[in-house]
């Protein structure tokens, strides 16, 4: 038994579990894993990559929209709605929750509130991006060492 591989798998499992415990990912992320199989071997990375590029664009749009002399709140809300939707679909719980708060400020047409929220969303996004990129690296290491990626078990809360 390759002790190195076992340790790597252990590290991967611990890292993944921590993401759930910290509320960075929720159970929806497990749905992505369920959809990955031999016919769709890179599904998780593909969907998450789409989420990253899509979100970056939306965050840029939001920055621009909020910097306008007359803020178009319908437009801002539409962008946040998109971001809320995609973060919810991949299980990026904190990003989703930050979007919900944002939408409240948007309804109140509260620009300072929106700007604060945007900062929050950006932070949460960068956090989940960094964590998932690390997770994928750890998975690659396990696979390269000849192991298989254990299905993440969401720790009971």
């Amino acid at each position: 038994m390759d002790v190195g591989l076992v340790q790597m798998q252990r590290r991967l499992a611990d890292y993944a579990n921590a993401l759930f415990k910290e509320g960075i990912l929720d159970s929806q992320y497990l749905q992505l894993q369920e959809l990955q199989d031999e016919s769709n071997p890179d599904f998780v990375v593909e969907v998450v990559s789409l989420f990253f590029t899509d979100s970056e664009k939306l965050l840029n749009d939001l920055s621009r929209d909020l910097a306008q002399p007359n803020v178009d709140f319908k437009r801002v809300d539409a962008h946040v709605h998109q971001l809320k939707g995609s973060s919810s679909s991949i299980g990026a719980e904190r990003v989703k929750n930050a979007c919900i708060v944002f939408r409240n400020f948007c309804q109140e047409k509260n620009i300072p509130g929106c700007l604060r929220c945007l900062q929050q969303i950006k932070q949460e996004f960068l956090l989940v991006k960094s964590k998932l990129e690390t997770l994928f690296k750890l998975e690659q290491q396990v696979v390269a060492a000849g192991g298989s990626i254990p299905t993440v078990q969401q720790p009971s809360l």
Binding site: Q31, L32, K84
Partner: protein, 143 residues
């Protein structure tokens, strides 16, 4: 009904790219053939209904290309509800079940869609179990 062997053909409509990819994977995972559309207009084009001719198809099709339409509710331009109305108003497509999905649990919205003929209303994010249930319920699967 269009014959695709054992695999039902589903048209999935959603303006969100991530959600579209998820819906596609969820449906394929439940042994469905999937076509996606990014908005209602594209969906109608695919189905053969022209938007400027309400009701009748401008294509001489006699059967629907698809067995099921799943559409997001909140889409810019044509909403899922608008799309539902167009489908139900078409002589060729009105028998095709339409499922509306939404991230928002709004009872008046749900009732409005069901009253207009939606087969089901489901909450996002969709899970594999939701889609499996949906497929069995709508396609009368044998297992």
């Amino acid at each position: 009904m269009a014959d695709h062997g054992d695999e039902p053909h589903v048209l999935a409509v959603d303006d969100n790219l991530v959600d579209r990819k998820m819906m596609e994977a969820l449906l394929k995972n439940s042994s469905c053939k999937v076509t996606t559309a990014e908005n209602g207009m594209r969906a109608l084009e695919y189905l053969g209904i022209r938007d400027d001719q309400p009701g009748e198809s401008s294509v001489s099709a006699t059967t629907s290309k698809v067995n099921l339409i799943i559409t997001d509710y909140c889409m810019p331009g044509m909403t899922g509800f608008d799309l539902l109305k167009k489908v139900k108003g078409s002589s060729i497509l009105k028998e095709v079940p339409v499922v509306i999905v939404s991230s928002e649990n709004v009872p008046t919205r749900i009732n409005k869609c069901l009253a207009e003929g939606a087969q089901m209303f489901m909450l996002k994010p969709l899970k594999a179990s939701d889609v499996k249930k949906l497929r069995c319920h709508l396609m009368n699967c044998k297992t």
